[in-house]
Protein backbone atom coordinates (compact mmCIF):
# COMPACT_ATOMS: atom_id res chain seq x y z
CA UNK A 1 0.00 0.00 0.00
CA UNK A 2 2.89 2.32 -0.48
CA UNK A 3 1.50 4.37 -3.33
CA UNK A 4 -0.09 7.57 -2.13
CA UNK A 5 -2.52 8.89 -4.69
CA UNK A 6 -3.26 12.62 -4.87
CA UNK A 7 -6.52 11.84 -3.13
CA UNK A 8 -4.65 10.34 -0.16
CA UNK A 9 -2.29 13.29 0.03
CA UNK A 10 -5.13 15.81 -0.05
CA UNK A 11 -7.19 14.01 2.57
CA UNK A 12 -4.21 13.61 4.89
CA UNK A 13 -3.23 17.27 4.49
CA UNK A 14 -6.75 18.59 5.02
CA UNK A 15 -7.38 16.14 7.86
CA UNK A 16 -4.31 17.06 9.84
CA UNK A 17 -4.87 20.76 9.10
CA UNK A 18 -8.37 20.38 10.54
CA UNK A 19 -6.96 18.66 13.63
CA UNK A 20 -4.18 21.13 14.28
CA UNK A 21 -5.14 24.60 12.96
CA UNK A 22 -7.57 25.33 15.83
CA UNK A 23 -4.83 24.51 18.33
CA UNK A 24 -2.29 26.61 16.48
CA UNK A 25 -4.64 29.61 16.41
CA UNK A 26 -5.32 29.14 20.10
CA UNK A 27 -1.61 29.12 20.87
CA UNK A 28 -0.81 32.11 18.62
CA UNK A 29 -3.49 34.27 20.18
CA UNK A 30 -2.31 33.50 23.69
CA UNK A 31 0.59 35.83 22.80
CA UNK A 32 -1.75 38.59 21.60
CA UNK A 33 -1.38 42.02 23.18
CA UNK A 34 -5.09 42.83 22.86
CA UNK A 35 -7.87 41.56 25.06
CA UNK A 36 -9.78 40.77 21.89
CA UNK A 37 -8.95 37.23 21.02
CA UNK A 38 -9.70 37.51 17.32
CA UNK A 39 -7.75 40.64 16.39
CA UNK A 40 -3.96 40.57 16.40
CA UNK A 41 -2.45 43.61 18.16
CA UNK A 42 1.17 42.67 18.68
CA UNK A 43 3.23 40.14 20.61
CA UNK A 44 3.01 39.96 24.37
CA UNK A 45 3.41 37.43 27.14
CA UNK A 46 1.37 39.43 29.59
CA UNK A 47 -1.50 36.90 29.70
CA UNK A 48 0.89 34.26 31.00
CA UNK A 49 1.71 36.64 33.81
CA UNK A 50 -1.99 37.00 34.52
CA UNK A 51 -2.44 33.24 34.66
CA UNK A 52 0.46 32.79 37.06
CA UNK A 53 -0.81 35.56 39.30
CA UNK A 54 -4.37 34.22 39.28
CA UNK A 55 -4.69 32.46 42.63
CA UNK A 56 -8.02 30.85 41.77
CA UNK A 57 -6.42 29.11 38.79
CA UNK A 58 -3.43 28.02 40.82
CA UNK A 59 -5.60 26.64 43.62
CA UNK A 60 -7.79 24.80 41.13
CA UNK A 61 -4.69 23.43 39.37
CA UNK A 62 -3.32 22.16 42.66
CA UNK A 63 -6.63 20.45 43.52
CA UNK A 64 -6.78 18.95 40.03
CA UNK A 65 -3.25 17.55 40.24
CA UNK A 66 -3.85 16.03 43.66
CA UNK A 67 -7.13 14.47 42.56
CA UNK A 68 -5.55 13.15 39.36
CA UNK A 69 -2.55 11.69 41.18
CA UNK A 70 -4.52 9.86 43.85
CA UNK A 71 -7.37 8.70 41.64
CA UNK A 72 -4.95 7.49 38.95
CA UNK A 73 -2.91 5.59 41.52
CA UNK A 74 -5.87 3.88 43.20
CA UNK A 75 -7.50 3.25 39.81
CA UNK A 76 -4.30 1.61 38.56
CA UNK A 77 -4.17 -0.77 41.53
CA UNK A 78 -7.86 -1.68 41.28
CA UNK A 79 -7.94 -1.82 37.48
CA UNK A 80 -4.87 -4.08 37.32
CA UNK A 81 -6.36 -6.39 39.93
CA UNK A 82 -9.66 -6.54 38.06
CA UNK A 83 -7.98 -7.22 34.70
CA UNK A 84 -5.81 -9.95 36.22
CA UNK A 85 -8.73 -11.59 38.03
CA UNK A 86 -10.87 -11.57 34.87
CA UNK A 87 -8.05 -13.06 32.83
CA UNK A 88 -6.95 -15.78 35.23
CA UNK A 89 -10.15 -16.91 36.86
CA UNK A 90 -12.53 -19.19 35.08
CA UNK A 91 -16.18 -19.12 35.94
CA UNK A 92 -17.18 -17.68 39.29
CA UNK A 93 -20.42 -16.47 40.78
CA UNK A 94 -21.19 -12.99 39.50
CA UNK A 95 -18.60 -12.98 36.74
CA UNK A 96 -21.02 -11.54 34.19
CA UNK A 97 -22.00 -8.75 36.56
CA UNK A 98 -18.34 -8.08 37.29
CA UNK A 99 -17.33 -7.82 33.63
CA UNK A 100 -20.43 -5.73 32.96
CA UNK A 101 -19.47 -3.30 35.70
CA UNK A 102 -15.93 -3.08 34.34
CA UNK A 103 -17.04 -2.21 30.81
CA UNK A 104 -20.19 -0.17 31.46
CA UNK A 105 -18.50 3.01 32.74
CA UNK A 106 -16.56 3.22 29.46
CA UNK A 107 -19.74 3.94 27.50
CA UNK A 108 -21.84 5.51 30.25
CA UNK A 109 -22.69 9.16 29.56
CA UNK A 110 -20.76 11.28 32.04
CA UNK A 111 -23.87 13.13 33.14
CA UNK A 112 -25.36 9.87 34.39
CA UNK A 113 -22.20 8.71 36.18
CA UNK A 114 -21.83 12.11 37.79
CA UNK A 115 -25.45 12.33 38.86
CA UNK A 116 -25.57 8.84 40.31
CA UNK A 117 -22.37 9.29 42.31
CA UNK A 118 -23.56 12.61 43.68
CA UNK A 119 -26.81 11.02 44.83
CA UNK A 120 -24.81 8.25 46.52
CA UNK A 121 -22.59 10.71 48.37
CA UNK A 122 -25.62 12.61 49.56
CA UNK A 123 -27.42 9.44 50.61
CA UNK A 124 -24.51 8.31 52.78
CA UNK A 125 -23.87 11.83 54.04
CA UNK A 126 -20.36 12.21 52.64
CA UNK A 127 -19.34 15.88 52.37
CA UNK A 128 -18.44 16.81 48.81
CA UNK A 129 -14.85 17.83 48.27
CA UNK A 130 -11.52 16.47 47.10
CA UNK A 131 -12.28 13.02 48.51
CA UNK A 132 -15.54 12.60 46.60
CA UNK A 133 -13.92 13.66 43.32
CA UNK A 134 -11.13 11.15 43.91
CA UNK A 135 -13.67 8.38 44.56
CA UNK A 136 -15.63 9.31 41.44
CA UNK A 137 -12.60 9.57 39.18
CA UNK A 138 -11.14 6.33 40.52
CA UNK A 139 -14.35 4.50 39.67
CA UNK A 140 -14.47 5.43 36.02
CA UNK A 141 -10.70 5.52 35.48
CA UNK A 142 -10.16 1.99 36.86
CA UNK A 143 -12.25 0.67 33.99
CA UNK A 144 -9.94 2.30 31.44
CA UNK A 145 -6.90 0.95 33.29
CA UNK A 146 -8.42 -2.51 33.31
CA UNK A 147 -9.00 -2.39 29.54
CA UNK A 148 -5.41 -1.29 28.88
CA UNK A 149 -3.96 -3.93 31.22
CA UNK A 150 -6.22 -6.72 29.89
CA UNK A 151 -5.12 -6.06 26.35
CA UNK A 152 -1.52 -6.60 27.51
CA UNK A 153 -2.41 -9.70 29.51
CA UNK A 154 -4.01 -11.30 26.45
CA UNK A 155 -0.58 -11.64 24.85
CA UNK A 156 1.14 -12.52 28.12
CA UNK A 157 2.78 -15.94 27.94
CA UNK A 158 1.08 -17.94 30.64
CA UNK A 159 4.00 -20.30 30.95
CA UNK A 160 6.11 -17.49 32.47
CA UNK A 161 3.86 -17.56 35.51
CA UNK A 162 3.81 -21.33 35.54
CA UNK A 163 7.60 -21.33 35.42
CA UNK A 164 7.64 -19.09 38.50
CA UNK A 165 5.24 -21.43 40.31
CA UNK A 166 7.33 -24.39 39.20
CA UNK A 167 10.43 -22.77 40.66
CA UNK A 168 8.79 -22.37 44.06
CA UNK A 169 6.78 -19.12 44.00
CA UNK A 170 3.36 -18.77 45.55
CA UNK A 171 0.75 -17.23 43.24
CA UNK A 172 1.22 -13.82 44.81
CA UNK A 173 5.02 -14.01 44.58
CA UNK A 174 4.72 -15.07 40.94
CA UNK A 175 2.48 -12.07 40.24
CA UNK A 176 4.79 -9.60 41.99
CA UNK A 177 8.14 -10.91 40.75
CA UNK A 178 7.24 -12.00 37.21
CA UNK A 179 3.89 -10.79 35.91
CA UNK A 180 3.94 -7.24 37.23
CA UNK A 181 7.45 -6.33 36.05
CA UNK A 182 6.65 -7.67 32.59
CA UNK A 183 3.32 -5.90 32.19
CA UNK A 184 4.69 -2.74 33.83
CA UNK A 185 4.63 -0.67 30.60
CA UNK A 186 0.89 -1.34 30.23
CA UNK A 187 0.30 -0.55 33.89
CA UNK A 188 2.18 2.73 33.52
CA UNK A 189 0.23 3.53 30.35
CA UNK A 190 -2.95 2.81 32.28
CA UNK A 191 -1.85 5.16 35.04
CA UNK A 192 -1.08 7.92 32.53
CA UNK A 193 -4.45 7.45 30.87
CA UNK A 194 -6.24 7.57 34.23
CA UNK A 195 -4.24 10.65 35.17
CA UNK A 196 -5.13 12.58 32.00
CA UNK A 197 -8.76 11.46 32.14
CA UNK A 198 -8.97 12.88 35.64
CA UNK A 199 -7.18 16.10 34.65
CA UNK A 200 -9.61 16.49 31.76
CA UNK A 201 -12.88 15.68 33.37
CA UNK A 202 -15.43 18.43 33.74
CA UNK A 203 -18.83 16.78 34.04
CA UNK A 204 -18.26 14.19 36.75
CA UNK A 205 -16.16 16.64 38.75
CA UNK A 206 -18.92 19.26 38.53
CA UNK A 207 -21.38 16.84 40.08
CA UNK A 208 -19.11 15.51 42.79
CA UNK A 209 -17.12 18.63 43.73
CA UNK A 210 -18.37 20.70 46.60
CA UNK A 211 -17.90 24.40 47.15
CA UNK A 212 -14.66 23.63 49.00
CA UNK A 213 -12.96 22.07 45.99
CA UNK A 214 -12.91 23.37 42.43
CA UNK A 215 -10.91 21.69 39.71
CA UNK A 216 -9.25 23.45 36.81
CA UNK A 217 -11.75 22.24 34.17
CA UNK A 218 -14.62 23.55 36.32
CA UNK A 219 -12.83 26.87 36.62
CA UNK A 220 -12.09 27.04 32.89
CA UNK A 221 -15.65 26.06 32.01
CA UNK A 222 -17.21 28.76 34.13
CA UNK A 223 -14.96 31.46 32.64
CA UNK A 224 -15.38 30.15 29.08
CA UNK A 225 -19.15 30.35 29.43
CA UNK A 226 -18.68 34.09 29.73
CA UNK A 227 -16.79 34.14 26.42
CA UNK A 228 -13.26 33.78 25.09
CA UNK A 229 -10.43 35.40 26.98
CA UNK A 230 -6.71 35.53 26.22
CA UNK A 231 -6.01 34.37 29.73
CA UNK A 232 -7.73 31.05 28.99
CA UNK A 233 -5.72 30.87 25.77
CA UNK A 234 -2.54 31.24 27.76
CA UNK A 235 -3.63 28.63 30.29
CA UNK A 236 -4.63 26.25 27.46
CA UNK A 237 -1.27 26.78 25.77
CA UNK A 238 0.53 25.82 28.97
CA UNK A 239 -1.55 22.64 29.27
CA UNK A 240 -1.11 21.75 25.59
CA UNK A 241 2.63 22.36 25.93
CA UNK A 242 2.99 20.08 28.94
CA UNK A 243 0.95 17.30 27.36
CA UNK A 244 2.77 17.50 24.03
CA UNK A 245 6.19 17.40 25.61
CA UNK A 246 5.12 14.53 27.87
CA UNK A 247 3.67 12.43 25.07
CA UNK A 248 6.62 13.10 22.73
CA UNK A 249 9.20 12.23 25.38
CA UNK A 250 7.33 9.04 26.26
CA UNK A 251 7.09 7.97 22.62
CA UNK A 252 10.74 8.75 21.88
CA UNK A 253 11.81 6.76 24.94
CA UNK A 254 9.72 3.73 24.04
CA UNK A 255 10.87 3.91 20.43
CA UNK A 256 14.47 3.90 21.55
CA UNK A 257 13.85 0.92 23.76
CA UNK A 258 12.29 -1.00 20.88
CA UNK A 259 15.17 -0.08 18.58
CA UNK A 260 17.69 -1.23 21.20
CA UNK A 261 15.87 -4.52 21.65
CA UNK A 262 15.90 -5.08 17.87
CA UNK A 263 19.65 -4.45 17.70
CA UNK A 264 20.24 -6.88 20.57
CA UNK A 265 18.22 -9.58 18.89
CA UNK A 266 20.00 -9.09 15.60
CA UNK A 267 23.35 -9.42 17.39
CA UNK A 268 22.26 -12.56 19.23
CA UNK A 269 21.18 -14.21 15.99
CA UNK A 270 24.49 -13.34 14.36
CA UNK A 271 26.37 -14.85 17.27
CA UNK A 272 24.67 -18.15 16.62
CA UNK A 273 25.42 -18.26 12.89
Amino acid sequence: MNRLSWFNVVSLTLGFAFLYIPMVILVIFSFNESKLVTVWAGFSTKWYGEVIRNEAFLDAAWVTLRVAFFSATIATVLGTMAAYAMMRRGAFVGRTLFSGMIYAPLVMPEVITGLSLLLLFIAIGLDRGVLTIILAHTTFAMCYVSVVVSSRLVSFDNSLEEAALDLGCTRFQAFMSVTLPIIAPAVIAGWLLAFTLSLDDLVIASFTAGPSATTLPIKIFSSVRLGVSPEINALSTIIIGIVTVGVLVASVLSKRQIAQARRDEAMADQAEG
Binding site: D157, S159, A163, A164, C169, Q173, V178, I182, A268, E272
Partner: protein
Protein backbone atom coordinates in the same frame (compact mmCIF):
# COMPACT_ATOMS: atom_id res chain seq x y z
CA UNK B 1 22.07 -45.26 24.69
CA UNK B 2 25.44 -45.22 26.34
CA UNK B 3 24.32 -46.83 29.57
CA UNK B 4 21.82 -49.20 28.09
CA UNK B 5 23.66 -52.42 28.80
CA UNK B 6 23.63 -51.99 32.55
CA UNK B 7 20.50 -49.93 33.04
CA UNK B 8 17.24 -51.90 32.97
CA UNK B 9 15.35 -51.20 36.20
CA UNK B 10 12.00 -51.78 34.49
CA UNK B 11 12.93 -55.45 34.04
CA UNK B 12 13.88 -55.82 37.71
CA UNK B 13 10.89 -56.86 39.83
CA UNK B 14 12.60 -55.56 43.01
CA UNK B 15 13.26 -52.04 41.72
CA UNK B 16 11.11 -49.26 43.22
CA UNK B 17 9.90 -46.75 40.69
CA UNK B 18 10.38 -43.02 41.34
CA UNK B 19 7.04 -42.12 39.79
CA UNK B 20 3.93 -44.22 39.86
CA UNK B 21 0.97 -43.22 37.73
CA UNK B 22 -1.96 -45.39 38.73
CA UNK B 23 -5.20 -45.44 36.80
CA UNK B 24 -5.03 -41.72 36.00
CA UNK B 25 -7.81 -40.13 33.96
CA UNK B 26 -8.13 -36.47 33.06
CA UNK B 27 -11.22 -34.96 31.49
CA UNK B 28 -11.89 -31.40 30.36
CA UNK B 29 -15.67 -31.14 30.13
CA UNK B 30 -16.71 -33.83 27.66
CA UNK B 31 -13.21 -34.33 26.36
CA UNK B 32 -11.08 -37.12 27.81
CA UNK B 33 -7.44 -36.07 27.53
CA UNK B 34 -5.99 -38.98 29.52
CA UNK B 35 -7.88 -42.25 29.64
CA UNK B 36 -7.09 -44.49 32.62
CA UNK B 37 -3.32 -44.86 32.21
CA UNK B 38 -0.80 -46.51 34.52
CA UNK B 39 2.96 -46.23 34.29
CA UNK B 40 6.09 -46.52 36.43
CA UNK B 41 9.15 -44.39 35.77
CA UNK B 42 12.40 -45.28 37.52
CA UNK B 43 15.11 -43.07 38.99
CA UNK B 44 17.74 -41.84 36.48
CA UNK B 45 15.59 -42.82 33.53
CA UNK B 46 15.36 -40.64 30.45
CA UNK B 47 11.74 -41.25 29.61
CA UNK B 48 9.99 -39.97 26.49
CA UNK B 49 6.28 -39.39 25.98
CA UNK B 50 5.81 -39.51 22.23
CA UNK B 51 2.70 -38.85 20.23
CA UNK B 52 0.95 -36.53 17.80
CA UNK B 53 -0.42 -33.23 19.06
CA UNK B 54 -3.57 -33.68 21.12
CA UNK B 55 -2.65 -37.20 22.24
CA UNK B 56 -2.52 -36.18 25.89
CA UNK B 57 1.25 -36.22 26.41
CA UNK B 58 1.42 -32.59 27.53
CA UNK B 59 -1.54 -33.03 29.86
CA UNK B 60 0.16 -36.00 31.50
CA UNK B 61 3.34 -33.97 31.97
CA UNK B 62 1.42 -31.03 33.41
CA UNK B 63 -0.13 -33.37 35.94
CA UNK B 64 3.35 -34.44 37.02
CA UNK B 65 4.31 -30.76 37.40
CA UNK B 66 1.13 -30.02 39.34
CA UNK B 67 -0.51 -27.62 36.87
CA UNK B 68 -3.38 -30.03 36.31
CA UNK B 69 -5.02 -32.38 38.81
CA UNK B 70 -6.11 -35.89 37.75
CA UNK B 71 -9.89 -36.36 37.48
CA UNK B 72 -9.35 -39.90 38.75
CA UNK B 73 -6.41 -42.05 39.82
CA UNK B 74 -3.24 -41.35 41.73
CA UNK B 75 0.25 -40.02 41.07
CA UNK B 76 3.03 -40.70 43.56
CA UNK B 77 6.53 -39.32 43.35
CA UNK B 78 9.15 -40.99 45.55
CA UNK B 79 6.39 -42.65 47.53
CA UNK B 80 4.45 -39.44 48.28
CA UNK B 81 0.94 -38.98 46.95
CA UNK B 82 0.97 -35.76 44.93
CA UNK B 83 -2.75 -35.04 45.28
CA UNK B 84 -3.20 -31.48 46.53
CA UNK B 85 0.52 -30.63 46.37
CA UNK B 86 0.85 -27.34 44.43
CA UNK B 87 3.60 -26.92 41.78
CA UNK B 88 5.74 -24.76 44.06
CA UNK B 89 5.89 -27.52 46.68
CA UNK B 90 7.00 -30.31 44.35
CA UNK B 91 10.58 -31.46 43.87
CA UNK B 92 9.81 -31.39 40.18
CA UNK B 93 10.95 -28.74 37.74
CA UNK B 94 9.90 -28.12 34.21
CA UNK B 95 11.53 -26.79 31.11
CA UNK B 96 8.82 -25.07 29.13
CA UNK B 97 8.27 -25.39 25.42
CA UNK B 98 8.49 -21.60 25.00
CA UNK B 99 11.37 -21.69 27.54
CA UNK B 100 9.40 -19.11 29.58
CA UNK B 101 12.56 -17.16 30.40
CA UNK B 102 11.75 -14.09 32.47
CA UNK B 103 12.44 -11.27 30.00
CA UNK B 104 13.12 -8.68 32.71
CA UNK B 105 15.83 -10.74 34.40
CA UNK B 106 19.40 -11.51 33.28
CA UNK B 107 20.56 -15.04 32.56
CA UNK B 108 22.13 -15.14 36.03
CA UNK B 109 18.96 -13.97 37.75
CA UNK B 110 16.83 -16.38 35.75
CA UNK B 111 18.91 -19.30 36.96
CA UNK B 112 19.00 -17.95 40.51
CA UNK B 113 15.23 -17.38 40.58
CA UNK B 114 14.20 -20.74 42.04
CA UNK B 115 17.15 -20.88 44.43
CA UNK B 116 16.24 -17.51 45.92
CA UNK B 117 12.69 -18.76 46.54
CA UNK B 118 14.14 -21.48 48.74
CA UNK B 119 15.73 -18.78 50.91
CA UNK B 120 19.19 -20.14 50.21
CA UNK B 121 22.23 -18.24 51.43
CA UNK B 122 23.61 -15.68 48.95
CA UNK B 123 26.93 -17.48 48.54
CA UNK B 124 25.25 -20.81 48.04
CA UNK B 125 22.99 -19.33 45.37
CA UNK B 126 26.02 -17.83 43.65
CA UNK B 127 27.95 -21.08 43.76
CA UNK B 128 25.05 -23.10 42.43
CA UNK B 129 24.33 -20.63 39.61
CA UNK B 130 27.99 -20.70 38.58
CA UNK B 131 27.92 -24.46 38.58
CA UNK B 132 24.87 -24.43 36.31
CA UNK B 133 26.44 -21.85 34.00
CA UNK B 134 29.45 -24.10 33.67
CA UNK B 135 27.37 -27.21 33.07
CA UNK B 136 25.52 -25.53 30.23
CA UNK B 137 28.52 -23.51 28.97
CA UNK B 138 26.82 -20.17 29.49
CA UNK B 139 29.51 -18.55 31.62
CA UNK B 140 30.16 -15.59 29.33
CA UNK B 141 26.50 -14.74 28.93
CA UNK B 142 25.52 -14.46 32.60
CA UNK B 143 24.78 -10.72 32.43
CA UNK B 144 22.74 -10.84 29.22
CA UNK B 145 18.99 -10.55 29.05
CA UNK B 146 17.01 -13.32 27.29
CA UNK B 147 16.30 -11.19 24.22
CA UNK B 148 20.05 -10.80 23.70
CA UNK B 149 20.46 -14.56 23.28
CA UNK B 150 20.16 -16.87 20.30
CA UNK B 151 17.62 -19.69 20.26
CA UNK B 152 20.15 -22.32 21.28
CA UNK B 153 21.47 -20.19 24.15
CA UNK B 154 17.94 -19.58 25.43
CA UNK B 155 17.31 -23.29 25.41
CA UNK B 156 20.38 -23.82 27.59
CA UNK B 157 19.34 -21.09 30.03
CA UNK B 158 15.93 -22.73 30.39
CA UNK B 159 17.63 -26.05 31.10
CA UNK B 160 20.02 -24.49 33.62
CA UNK B 161 17.18 -22.74 35.40
CA UNK B 162 15.11 -25.89 35.68
CA UNK B 163 18.12 -27.94 36.85
CA UNK B 164 19.34 -25.37 39.37
CA UNK B 165 17.19 -26.58 42.24
CA UNK B 166 18.41 -30.13 41.75
CA UNK B 167 14.92 -31.58 41.20
CA UNK B 168 14.21 -35.30 41.58
CA UNK B 169 12.42 -35.12 38.28
CA UNK B 170 12.94 -32.79 35.35
CA UNK B 171 10.13 -32.38 32.84
CA UNK B 172 11.00 -31.19 29.35
CA UNK B 173 8.14 -30.01 27.15
CA UNK B 174 9.26 -30.18 23.50
CA UNK B 175 12.64 -28.83 24.60
CA UNK B 176 14.17 -28.71 21.14
CA UNK B 177 11.10 -27.83 19.11
CA UNK B 178 12.17 -24.24 18.50
CA UNK B 179 15.65 -25.08 17.19
CA UNK B 180 16.62 -25.78 13.61
CA UNK B 181 17.45 -29.34 12.61
CA UNK B 182 21.23 -29.25 12.86
CA UNK B 183 21.28 -27.52 16.23
CA UNK B 184 18.60 -29.90 17.45
CA UNK B 185 20.75 -32.94 16.75
CA UNK B 186 23.74 -31.47 18.56
CA UNK B 187 21.59 -30.47 21.49
CA UNK B 188 20.09 -33.94 21.81
CA UNK B 189 23.51 -35.29 22.67
CA UNK B 190 24.18 -32.42 25.07
CA UNK B 191 20.94 -33.19 26.87
CA UNK B 192 21.87 -36.87 27.22
CA UNK B 193 25.30 -35.85 28.50
CA UNK B 194 23.84 -33.57 31.15
CA UNK B 195 21.27 -36.15 32.15
CA UNK B 196 23.96 -38.74 32.62
CA UNK B 197 26.29 -36.39 34.50
CA UNK B 198 23.67 -35.24 36.98
CA UNK B 199 21.75 -38.50 37.28
CA UNK B 200 18.44 -36.63 37.27
CA UNK B 201 15.34 -38.40 36.04
CA UNK B 202 14.16 -36.77 32.83
CA UNK B 203 10.72 -37.00 31.30
CA UNK B 204 10.56 -35.47 27.86
CA UNK B 205 7.45 -34.73 25.82
CA UNK B 206 7.93 -34.70 22.08
CA UNK B 207 6.15 -35.31 18.81
CA UNK B 208 9.46 -35.94 17.04
CA UNK B 209 10.02 -39.72 16.94
CA UNK B 210 13.66 -39.38 15.95
CA UNK B 211 14.29 -37.21 18.99
CA UNK B 212 12.51 -39.63 21.32
CA UNK B 213 14.44 -42.59 19.89
CA UNK B 214 17.77 -40.79 20.21
CA UNK B 215 17.57 -39.51 23.76
CA UNK B 216 15.29 -41.84 25.68
CA UNK B 217 15.94 -45.00 27.66
CA UNK B 218 12.25 -45.83 27.26
CA UNK B 219 9.54 -44.40 25.07
CA UNK B 220 5.80 -44.35 25.64
CA UNK B 221 3.91 -43.99 22.35
CA UNK B 222 0.62 -42.24 23.06
CA UNK B 223 -2.58 -41.82 21.12
CA UNK B 224 -5.95 -40.43 22.21
CA UNK B 225 -5.04 -40.36 25.88
CA UNK B 226 -3.70 -43.93 26.05
CA UNK B 227 -0.34 -45.65 25.91
CA UNK B 228 -0.05 -47.70 22.75
CA UNK B 229 3.30 -49.18 23.73
CA UNK B 230 5.88 -48.50 26.44
CA UNK B 231 9.27 -49.93 25.59
CA UNK B 232 12.91 -49.29 24.78
CA UNK B 233 13.55 -47.47 21.48
CA UNK B 234 14.92 -50.55 19.72
CA UNK B 235 11.94 -52.69 20.73
CA UNK B 236 9.52 -49.96 19.67
CA UNK B 237 11.14 -49.90 16.25
CA UNK B 238 11.87 -53.58 15.75
CA UNK B 239 8.92 -55.06 17.63
CA UNK B 240 5.98 -52.68 17.49
CA UNK B 241 2.88 -54.22 19.04
CA UNK B 242 0.37 -52.58 16.75
CA UNK B 243 -0.11 -51.12 13.32
CA UNK B 244 -0.39 -47.68 14.94
CA UNK B 245 3.05 -47.87 16.54
CA UNK B 246 4.68 -49.43 13.50
CA UNK B 247 3.27 -46.71 11.30
CA UNK B 248 4.02 -43.86 13.71
CA UNK B 249 7.68 -44.76 14.19
CA UNK B 250 9.66 -44.64 11.00
CA UNK B 251 8.63 -45.79 7.56
CA UNK B 252 6.85 -49.09 7.07
CA UNK B 253 5.10 -51.16 4.42
CA UNK B 254 1.74 -52.45 5.60
CA UNK B 255 0.16 -55.31 3.68
CA UNK B 256 -3.22 -56.70 4.72
CA UNK B 257 -3.24 -60.50 4.80
CA UNK B 258 -4.91 -63.59 6.29
CA UNK B 259 -3.28 -66.29 8.44
CA UNK B 260 -3.05 -69.61 6.59
CA UNK B 261 -0.76 -71.77 8.69
CA UNK B 262 0.88 -71.45 12.09
CA UNK B 263 4.29 -73.01 12.58
CA UNK B 264 7.66 -71.52 13.54
CA UNK B 265 6.85 -68.89 10.99
CA UNK B 266 3.37 -67.85 10.01
CA UNK B 267 2.24 -68.45 6.49
CA UNK B 268 0.08 -65.62 5.18
CA UNK B 269 -2.18 -65.25 2.17
CA UNK B 270 -1.96 -61.69 0.94
CA UNK B 271 -3.36 -62.16 -2.54
CA UNK B 272 -4.84 -64.96 -4.62
CA UNK B 273 -2.28 -67.79 -4.38
CA UNK B 274 0.46 -65.50 -2.98
CA UNK B 275 2.17 -66.20 0.35
CA UNK B 276 4.51 -64.51 2.74
CA UNK B 277 6.31 -65.91 5.78
CA UNK B 278 6.87 -63.93 8.92
CA UNK B 279 7.36 -64.01 12.69
CA UNK B 280 4.16 -63.60 14.68
CA UNK B 281 3.47 -61.11 17.46
CA UNK B 282 0.86 -62.22 20.04
CA UNK B 283 -1.67 -65.01 19.62
CA UNK B 284 -2.94 -65.72 16.17
CA UNK B 285 -5.54 -68.11 14.83
CA UNK B 286 -5.82 -69.58 11.39
CA UNK B 287 -8.05 -67.49 9.16
CA UNK B 288 -7.48 -64.28 11.13
CA UNK B 289 -7.23 -60.94 9.27
CA UNK B 290 -3.82 -59.39 10.05
CA UNK B 291 -1.37 -56.81 8.76
CA UNK B 292 2.15 -57.62 7.66
CA UNK B 293 4.62 -54.85 8.54
CA UNK B 294 8.02 -54.67 6.84
CA UNK B 295 10.51 -51.81 7.17
CA UNK B 296 11.70 -50.56 3.76
CA UNK B 297 15.38 -50.92 4.64
CA UNK B 298 14.87 -54.64 5.29
CA UNK B 299 13.84 -55.24 1.68
CA UNK B 300 16.41 -56.04 -0.98
CA UNK B 301 15.98 -55.10 -4.61
CA UNK B 302 17.52 -57.03 -7.50
CA UNK B 303 17.16 -57.92 -11.16
CA UNK B 304 17.86 -61.60 -10.65
CA UNK B 305 15.46 -63.95 -8.91
CA UNK B 306 16.45 -63.92 -5.21
CA UNK B 307 16.86 -66.94 -2.91
CA UNK B 308 14.64 -65.68 -0.08
CA UNK B 309 11.26 -67.34 0.49
CA UNK B 310 9.56 -63.90 0.54
CA UNK B 311 9.95 -62.53 -2.95
CA UNK B 312 7.75 -60.57 -5.29
CA UNK B 313 8.14 -59.13 -8.73
CA UNK B 314 7.05 -55.61 -9.59
CA UNK B 315 7.63 -52.49 -11.63
CA UNK B 316 9.46 -49.38 -10.41
CA UNK B 317 7.00 -46.56 -10.08
CA UNK B 318 9.10 -43.85 -8.42
CA UNK B 319 12.67 -43.30 -7.37
CA UNK B 320 13.66 -40.91 -4.60
CA UNK B 321 17.33 -40.01 -4.31
CA UNK B 322 18.14 -38.78 -0.76
CA UNK B 323 21.92 -38.76 -0.99
CA UNK B 324 22.73 -41.43 1.54
CA UNK B 325 19.75 -43.54 0.51
CA UNK B 326 17.61 -44.22 -2.48
CA UNK B 327 13.96 -45.08 -2.11
CA UNK B 328 12.15 -47.17 -4.68
CA UNK B 329 8.39 -47.45 -4.93
CA UNK B 330 7.61 -50.73 -6.57
CA UNK B 331 4.14 -51.56 -7.78
CA UNK B 332 3.13 -55.22 -7.59
CA UNK B 333 0.76 -56.61 -10.18
CA UNK B 334 -1.57 -57.64 -7.30
CA UNK B 335 -2.06 -53.97 -6.36
CA UNK B 336 0.11 -52.99 -3.36
CA UNK B 337 2.98 -50.54 -3.75
CA UNK B 338 6.03 -51.56 -1.70
CA UNK B 339 8.67 -49.09 -0.55
CA UNK B 340 12.24 -50.26 -0.39
CA UNK B 341 15.32 -48.40 0.75
CA UNK B 342 18.86 -49.02 -0.40
CA UNK B 343 21.98 -47.42 1.02
CA UNK B 344 24.19 -45.71 -1.54
CA UNK B 345 27.56 -47.07 -0.52
CA UNK B 346 29.53 -46.03 -3.55
CA UNK B 347 29.17 -42.95 -5.71
CA UNK B 348 26.77 -43.58 -8.49
CA UNK B 349 27.82 -42.74 -11.98
CA UNK B 350 24.56 -44.08 -13.22
CA UNK B 351 21.58 -45.66 -11.58
CA UNK B 352 21.28 -49.43 -11.37
CA UNK B 353 17.52 -49.24 -11.77
CA UNK B 354 15.32 -46.93 -13.68
CA UNK B 355 11.62 -46.10 -13.96
CA UNK B 356 9.40 -48.91 -15.25
CA UNK B 357 12.14 -51.52 -14.73
CA UNK B 358 10.93 -54.96 -13.72
CA UNK B 359 12.62 -55.86 -10.40
CA UNK B 360 12.49 -58.46 -7.63
CA UNK B 361 11.94 -57.52 -4.00
CA UNK B 362 12.84 -59.92 -1.21
CA UNK B 363 13.20 -60.17 2.56
CA UNK B 364 13.90 -62.83 5.16
CA UNK B 365 11.08 -64.42 7.16
CA UNK B 366 12.35 -62.64 10.31
CA UNK B 367 12.13 -59.21 8.67
CA UNK B 368 8.38 -58.93 8.57
CA UNK B 369 6.06 -58.71 11.57
CA UNK B 370 2.49 -59.93 11.76
CA UNK B 371 0.31 -57.44 13.61
CA UNK B 372 -3.17 -58.35 14.66
CA UNK B 373 -4.26 -54.84 15.84
Amino acid sequence: MVNEAAFHPWDDPDATPLIRIEGVTKTFGDFTAIDDVSLSIYGQEFFALLGPSGCGKTTLMRMLAGFETPSAGRITIDGTDMAGVPPNKRAVNMMFQSYALFPHLSVWDNIAFGLKRDGLDRDLVGARVDEMLKLTQLGKLARRKPHQLSGGQRQRVALARAMAKGPKLLLLDEPLGALDKKLRQETQFELMDIQEKTGTTFVIVTHDQEEAMTVASRVAVMDQGRFMQVDTPDRIYEAPNSVYVADFIGDVNLVPARVRQLRDAVMLDWAEGKRFFAKPVGDLTVGQEVTLAIRPEKIAISREVPEEPNRVKGKILDIGYLGNLSTYHVELPEGPVIKCEVGNRSRLSRRDFSWDDEVWLSWSDTAGLVLSS
